[in-house]
Every structure is written in C-alpha cells, then in structure tokens.
C-alpha cells in the first residue's frame, strides 16, 4: 500500500501509478498538454509541474511515480508562475490566429493560456514561418501551430502502429511530417487528429465549416462499415454530419477509429441517394409514388406465390441493414410468403465458415471478445489481413506483438508486416498443405485430450504431407517446425480466420485444420466480418437453413418452438442459398427475388452469369439507398434509409448487440423509408395481422422468438455491453460428426503460366458503398491493378502504365500499381469501383460441404496497353 498526500488529501494506492494518475483518482485535475490517456508519458511540455516535498525542483507529474509518504502540491504560486513561463515559451512561435483556427473553442493551449496567462509575451523577435500544407486530401497541416507535444507521433506509432509520421528537424525548426513532407502515405485512421491539442493537424472534411460550439446535437451510434462495430459520436448541425469522432469511455474501441469509420460517412451526404420509388415501364425505370410501387410489389408477389408456390420466391438480406430490418425480411419471406429461400452475401464466407466451425465445436465458438486479443500471447492469422478487413481488431493483433507476443501470418502479411518475426507465404492454393503440415507437427508435441472425439478421430486419419509434398508450396519443413514450435509455446493464443481461406477449394478441410490448431493449442477463434451485421444475418434467420436465434429449420423441435412463438408456419425444408437462387433464377424455377441492401450483380463472382439469371426473373425488387448496378435492372426500386437515419441494432463479430441511432431526421434526411417499415407494410398487405408502430416493437418480437436475445431489450443494449449469453463455453454442444472433404488427400500444387486475379480488400474502402465517399475517394481515388515489380518487369510495365487483364469472362483495362510486398504472379484488384470489379472476372464453384463459394479458374492474361 502506498500512501501519498496530494493537496492535503491522503490517497491510498494499491499499485504505484504516476502522481498525475493518483491525483486524478482523487478528483484533482492537474493541467497537462503533452499527456494523453493511453499514450506513453513523454514529459515534454512541463505544464503538469507539481511541488513535491523534499525534492528541490518542480517535477512533471505525468512521469513521476508515486512513492510512499510523498507530499504533493498541485497549485502554488511557484507552480503557476512556472506554467505561465512554459506557456510564454510556447507562444513565442505559436501564431495567435485563434479567430481563424478551427480548433478554437476546443484548443487545450487556448484554455491553458486563458487560465494561466501570460497576458502578453515579451519576445520581440519574429515568429517562425512555415506555410500551411494542403498537399493531402484529408489532413491539413499547420506546423506554425504545433507545440511539439508529440502526441500524434506516439499515437501513430504506439497505438495505431502505422509509424507514418515523425518529428523532423530540430529546435524551433522541428515539425511533424509524413515521410514525403507533403501527402501522407498512411492508414488515415485520423487518430492523430483526435489527440492533437491544438489546430496543427486538422481534417479537411469540415474545414472552416463550423466551430465546436456550433454542434447542435450529438448522436452516439456504431460504425456502419465493418463487423468490429466501433462506437462513435456523430456531431450534427442542421441535420448534416459535421464530424464522426470516437470517444474514450464509449465502446470497446477506446477512442480509436479507422479511416472508414472516421471519414467514410460522406457516402450518405453525397446527394446521390434515391429520392422516389422507381418502376420499370417499357424497359425504363420511371419515378412512381410509394403507393403505386408497394401495391405493385404486393400484387406481383401474391400472384407468383399463388401460381408457383412460395418456393418460387427468394430474398437477399443485407449485412449493412439492422437486425430489425433483416428479421422483417425473413419474416416476410418465410412466414408470409412461405419460402425458406433467404440468404445474403454472408454466404460468400462468413456464414458457412461460422456454421461449420459450430458444427465442430458448438454454437458460439467464434464469439470471443475483441478486447481480449491484446491480452493473449500469440496470434495465428490465416486468410486475410485483419488490419484492413477489421482494422480496430487488427490493432489488437499488433498490440500482441508490442507486448512481446508472437504474430504468425499465413499468406501476405499486409498491415502486419512490421509485426511478424518471419513470413509464411506459400504459393497460392497450397495453404491446405501447409496447414496439414503444421497440424502434423503440432500433433507430435500436443497430446490429444479426448475432449472432441469426432475431431480427434479425423486428426488420426489426416494425411500429413511429406517433405517433398511440402516443398512444392515454397514453405520448408524448417519453417513448419518453427511455426509449430511458436504455436506450442503460446499459452493464450488466438486464431484469426479471414475470407480467403474459406474461398478456396475444399474449404471445409482448411477450416477443419484451423479448428484443429485452435483445439490443439487451446486458442480462441475470431472470424473476420466484412460487414457490420454479418452476425446479425445468422442470428435473425437470414439463412435458408436457420430460423431466428440460429435454430435449424429442419429440426422439427426447433421449428415448432419458433412457430409457436409467432403463431405462424414456416416451410419444413431448408431453402435455396444465394448461389442456388441464382441457378434457380437462371433455370426459371425462381420467379421473384427481393433484394434488400445488397448488390449481387457486383458482389457475386462471374457477374455476366448473375446478370443473365436476374434478367430471367419475373420480379426483381431492390430496396437500397442508391441506384446500384442491381437496382438498374430491377422491376421495382424502393429507396431505403441510410445508416445515419436508422434506428435499430447491429450484432458485431463478437456477438455484441449495439444500438444504431438515428442522427438525421426531417427534410434533410434522405427520402428513403426504413427497410423494416417497407417490409412490414408489404407483409401486412399480404395478410400479416401484427402491426408494428416503432422499431422497438420489432425488437420485442425478436426477443420473444430468439432464445439468444431473451431479456436483451434496448435498455440493456444501450450500454454497449450486451453480448449473446455466451461465456467462453459453446451454447449448444454439437455432439455428432461433421464432414471434411479430402482428409486423406493433398491438392496438387500447380503454378499456372498466367497470373491469378485476387480480390484486394483495401483498408480505404468497403465494398461498393464507400465509392460514394468523397474523403475515401480522395485517399484511394480509383481502381488499379496491384502487381509485384517482378510481374511488371516481365510485361514491360512500370508504375502507372495501363494494362489489360482478360479471360473468358471479360476484359478490364486499368492502371497498374507496383507493390514490392505482394507475391509474384498475382494481380490484386478490389471489388469496389463500378465497371471495374474483380468479381466479374472470377469464376467460382460452390463447396459441397459448406455451401460457400470457392474461387476457381481465376487466372488472367496480362498485357501492356500501348498507346
């Protein structure tokens, strides 16, 4: 026990903390400038000076540790004089342009000077000059204002892990700069902007458009971009978003956001939102009234159901819509129209992977706390870069490295490159062999514990690759020994699984192997989620085989429970999944498709095939915020509300239920209607007897129908700590067997002559949504083919040249971008930009075990385009 006296108050401390923290605990605020909670103390500004008895000089309380018997005073004349002097020094160079500075009103320097003075400076020489830099599309740098507190640099290095800025020069010519001195080449998290105490680095998005006291309203909500679900505050003025900012104390993201969350919101401010419903008349989409559009949809759905049966109707739900929206779509299709044909883009990997892992380990196996990753002592990542797909989760992985843990990445490390001790990049499509070898080696060290009989039986019959077979992957047996040794030595490991391992042939085997690694090392599994509510899709029953609450539709007992709770009937057999619906549409068996918040024409591989299938439908309804590629070929388009106008809930990848709150309303809001409301209206007209007045009514019903949500009302959820009732133990054990494809086989490793076209998942974008965000476009303006310098050389290409890629599915001409960090013989292209999506050129098949897609035949011919 440490006893200290601060300003006459006695404080008892369990552990030694700094004097500043001890004072804070006692409710005494010491002024600071270079200190920022969560960053390593720096002790550079000397504003936190305090008097400590028996120490001759004033001490910086942010760096001084408490010791037993210390007597501290935080405000004396001597201290005030010292603070005033420190401020006078800072003001020598600080331009007094507060009237013009956007920071005024929330500037820490301004506040400190207002409190301690000086009233006037005595320095008669001129101030240093350094022109404001507008080289960057997002961050404007005014280094004359910089007080060199280094908070931004510590944020960028120590918490963000981007290491993109540093203090350059020395003395009064020190400035904070990115490497280029102008434009940033960084992750654009904007977290440096959060910590800058003055107006030295500011966002250009809202430059000179507001003052902090102009904020009329703040809305606490969760980010609508990915499955991490960061909390944020939308600051509003006149129904327009001024800023999206994080706030310490709300959410588990602890005051951090990524580029998409912080700057991406503009996609809903772009003025491109749909304003009225559209209907196809004589082959052209025309504006119609809501009444005409809705009654047409109702009429056609009824006719199709009556003529062909419920099975002729299908729906695609959305990982960007709330639980309430998705629940209602599911209810309409399943319980009103009598069809289990409902699925979503979560089918691309998330849903099948999760369901498969749950078959092995039980429901909830991937429900783990993101904030727990940082406490683990090792991470194994396979199938995607968490720092790009789920950036704030990626930061947790980086912090494992920072605290001395080991991070192993199977595949291109991307944003984890600086955080791994060695690379493990097998040739494409040979991951299965490498994983088998790792498991084989682990089995030598780790005894089977007999907890999971089915899994252990399979491990016994697993074919372990010989050294020769392994050799073909480009990974050596020494590498395997090293990886397995590292995995064995971890005591609290984490396995992170991304989309790419699932979108491979025999995905069940790769998932089984990753599951085996987790089982053998006792690891927690995380499944990366590209969309904010992928998990909600599963929980709300937006799957052909699952009812709300994750209950299998084909198990009578479960179906009856749901039917009883609702007083309505669901079809007994599972429905068609996303790809089966496309096939059925092409074959004329599926007649009507209701698409909510999804763009299948762009987001499913082989778009030519998808387009043909969709054109073959009798009725295609698209409900969305924008006129997407799919909406353009629809029969009816219904405008929906966008994320800042929605009330409801998202479920993140850790199964945390979080409230999405409406920030905009009134005439400035888009003309769309809430997805759930449109659906409820249609359902009512088709005979649903229940009416919902508010979104809470929908949630009430979900709580009643789904065992996972019992007792979790909006009030419980509001605090942000409502998780599925799962505490590290599976909810429902899955005894029994599970299938694995090709346990005793190994794939042949072929290195094709032509390069593979791979899906890039860039940090700066999120599907096709973000292409409407001006800010994100400023950072990443358009599509490009990312290739290695080696591949470029073979085709005579240099950075910025135009290249043509082609295969039987299509041709694209795009600029190339060289990247030394990506493997040879692969072309990376994001599936983001209209007309230039990677999915269009990728062939796929569906996995017989998982029902997910695997990428098949994705080689392309690369040529230089000569002008």
């Amino acid at each position: 026990m440490i006893k200290v006296t601060i300003d006459g108050r006695e404080i008892e401390l369990e552990h030694p903390v700094t004097v500043l923290e001890a004072a804070k605990q006692a409710g005494i605020a010491i002024p600071t400038l270079c200190y920022f909670e969560g960053l390593t103390p720096f002790g550079g500004c000397r504003l936190c000076l305090v008097e400590v008895e028996k120490l001759p000089k004033l001490q910086t309380s942010c760096t001084l540790m408490t010791a037993d018997g210390m007597v501290v005073r935080t405000e004396t004349d001597q201290i005030r004089a010292a603070r005033r002097s420190m401020l006078e020094f800072l003001l020598i160079n600080h331009p007094l342009d507060c009237p013009y500075c956007d920071k005024a009103g929330e500037c820490e320097l301004q506040d400190l000077v207002a409190r301690y003075g000086p009233e006037a400076g005595r320095f008669a020489e001129g101030k240093r000059r350094h022109p404001e830099s507008f080289d960057d599309p997002i961050i404007v740098r005014n280094m004359e204002r910089c007080v060199l507190c280094t908070r931004c640099v510590r944020m960028c290095n120590d918490l963000q892990g981007s290491y993109s800025i540093s203090v350059t020069g020395r003395g009064s010519h020190s400035f904070v700069e990115p490497f280029s001195g102008g434009r940033y080449d960084c992750e654009y998290c904007g977290n440096c902007l959060t910590v800058c105490p003055v107006g030295a680095i500011m966002s250009r998005l809202h430059r000179h458009s507001y003052r902090p006291w102009f904020v009329e309203k703040e809305t606490e909500t969760v980010c609508g971009f990915c499955g991490v679900g960061c909390s944020m505050v939308l600051q509003m003025r006149e129904n327009s978003i001024i800023r999206a900012i994080p706030r310490r104390g709300i959410g588990f993201n602890e005051g951090l956001l990524c580029v998409r969350g912080r700057f991406g919101y503009e996609y809903v401010e772009g003025g491109e939102e749909l304003t009225t419903p559209l209907m196809k008349v004589d082959g052209e989409l025309r504006q119609v009234s809501w009444e005409d559009a809705v009654s047409f949809v109702v009429k056609r759905l009824r006719e199709i159901r009556d003529e062909f049966g419920g099975g002729a109707v299908g729906a695609i739900a959305s990982g960007r819509c709330t639980n309430e929206d998705n629940y209602m779509l599911q209810k309409l299709v399943r319980f009103i129209l009598g069809s289990n044909n409902i699925d979503s883009a979560a089918r691309n990997y998330y849903a099948p992977a999760e369901l498969y892992l749950e078959r092995i380990f039980g429901q909830g196996i991937t429900a783990n706390l993101i904030s727990g990753i940082a406490n683990s002592d090792g991470v194994f990542v396979a199938g995607g870069d968490p720092t790009a797909i789920n950036p704030i989760l990626g930061l947790q992985v980086r912090s494992v490295w920072r605290s001395g843990g080991r991070v192993i990445v199977l595949g291109v490390p991307g944003g984890l490159k600086r955080f791994i001790p060695y690379e493990l990049t097998p040739v494409p499509y040979s991951e299965e062999i490498v994983l088998s070898a790792i498991v084989g080696r682990l089995l030598e060290d780790k005894p089977l514990r007999g907890e999971n009989a089915a899994l252990e039986a399979k491990l016994r019959s697993l074919r372990i690759p010989s050294d020769d077979e392994l050799g073909a992957t480009g990974v050596s047996s020494e590498d395997i020994v090293r990886v397995a040794g590292d995995l064995s030595s971890m005591t609290t490991p984490v396995v992170v699984i991304g989309p790419d391992v699932v979108q491979r042939k025999r995905a069940s085997k790769s998932l089984f192997l990753l599951g085996a690694i987790a089982y053998l090392t006792n690891a927690r599994i995380f499944l990366l989620a590209e969309r904010p509510n992928y998990q909600g899709l599963l929980d709300m029953g937006c799957l052909p085989e699952l009812l709300p609450g994750g209950r299998p539709v084909e198990l009578e007992m479960f179906r009856h429970k749901t039917e009883e709770a609702l007083g309505m009937k669901a079809p007994e057999e599972k429905g068609l999944n996303l790809f089966e619906m496309i096939e059925a549409a092409a074959a004329g068996r599926l007649k009507a498709l209701y698409v909510m918040g999804e763009n299948p024409l762009f987001n499913i591989p082989d778009s030519a095939k998808v387009e043909k299938a969709l054109e073959n439908l009798d009725l295609l309804v698209v409900q969305d915020v924008h006129l997407t590629e799919t909406a353009r070929i629809a029969d009816v388009v219904l405008p929906a509300t966008a994320w800042p106008e929605k009330e409801g809930t998202f479920t993140n990848l850790e199964r945390r239920l979080q409230r999405v709150r409406k920030a905009r309303r009134g005439k400035m809001a888009s003309y769309g209607r809430d997805d759930w409301k449109i659906l409820a209206d249609i359902a009512e007209r088709l005979g649903m007897t229940k009416t919902y007045h508010r979104v809470e009514d929908v949630w009430e019903e979900i709580m009643h129908v789904s065992a996972l949500h019992t007792g979790l009302g909006y009030e419980e959820i509001a605090g942000g700590s409502a998780l599925w009732p799962y505490y590290g133990e599976p909810l429902r054990g899955m005894e029994g067997d599970f299938p694995v494809e090709g346990l005793d086989e190994l794939p042949e490793v072929t290195v094709p002559e032509k390069p593979y076209l791979m899906i890039d998942r860039p940090l700066y974008h999120s599907g096709t949504f973000s292409r409407r965000s001006k800010a994100l476009l400023g950072i990443h303006p358009g599509p490009s083919l990312v290739i290695s310098p080696l591949l470029a050389e073979r085709h005579g290409l240099s950075d910025g040249d135009k290249a043509r890629i082609s295969n039987g599915r299509g041709v694209l001409e795009l600029k190339v971008k060289l990247d030394g960090d990506i493997p040879d013989n692969q072309v990376f292209l994001a599936n983001t930009f209209e007309g230039f999506g990677a999915m269009g050129l990728i062939g796929f098949g569906t996995d017989s075990v998982l029902g997910s897609i695997y990428i098949d035949d994705n080689t392309v011919r690369v040529e230089k385009v000569l002008r």
Partner: protein, 151 residues
Amino acid sequence: MDIVDEIRALSGKYPDRRGALLPALYVVQKEAGWLSQEALDTVSRALNLPQATVKGVATFYSMYKHRPMGRHLIQLCTNVACMIMGAERLVDLLKEKYGLEPGGTTGDGRFSLVVMECIGACDRAPAMLVDTDFHAGLTADNIFRILEEYE
C-alpha cells in the same frame, strides 16, 4: 557489395536494427554526398524501419545533408577560438577565390562550405574538416594549398 547488403551487414553488429540507423545513413550519404528521399527509403527498406522514423532521425543530426552537396565538403569552424585566430577572414577568402558562400556550393560542384561551431581543435585554431580529413593551423596561404589537393 551492394549498398543494401552493406547496411544489412552493419545491422548485424547491433542488438537491434535501430542501432544501425546512424551508420547506415552514413553509408548511403557516402554515395551521393547527401540524403535524398530515395536514399532514406533505401535505408528504411534495408533495415526494415519505418520511413518516417528514418527521416526523423536523419533530419535531427546536422552531419546528414538533405540537399545535394559538392564533391568535397568543407566544414570550417568559426567559433570563438577559431574566430579570434582569423577564421572569418578564411570565410571571406573562400568566397573571393571560389565564390563559395557558407551553406553554398561552388558552380562546378567541387566544394560545399558549412561553417561549424567548435570542432574540438581550439588549441590549433583555426581548423576545418574536408570530408573526413582534419586540418588545423590554417592560414590564408595553406588553406588553398590544402584544398587544391581535393579535385
């Protein structure tokens, strides 16, 4: 040995890669006489250290140059002892003879001049460094004899 290998070999001598940063910067500076963005990038890649970190360190120390320098760098001390012993006259002479200003480079790219604070040779003032060679006891005569040796 190419420059990247040379830097990597250096880094083996230090417990961590950051330790090799200063010597690595000398290695690349030796090539062109100054540190271009590309040179800093080479160091960053060779040592796997962030570019911004490399730049921060490189711009802190005055012995690293951030704009092109002449083939030979004259670092002439003008601090107290050297000043008393006539260093300022030498600065004027350099200007007269070569058109060389402090901080400048001759038109033919032969010499660059930097005036220094004390270089620790007060007992033999005035003193200068030409590249890495040390010369003391300079006079209006011998300074040019010395400099003529550098082509």
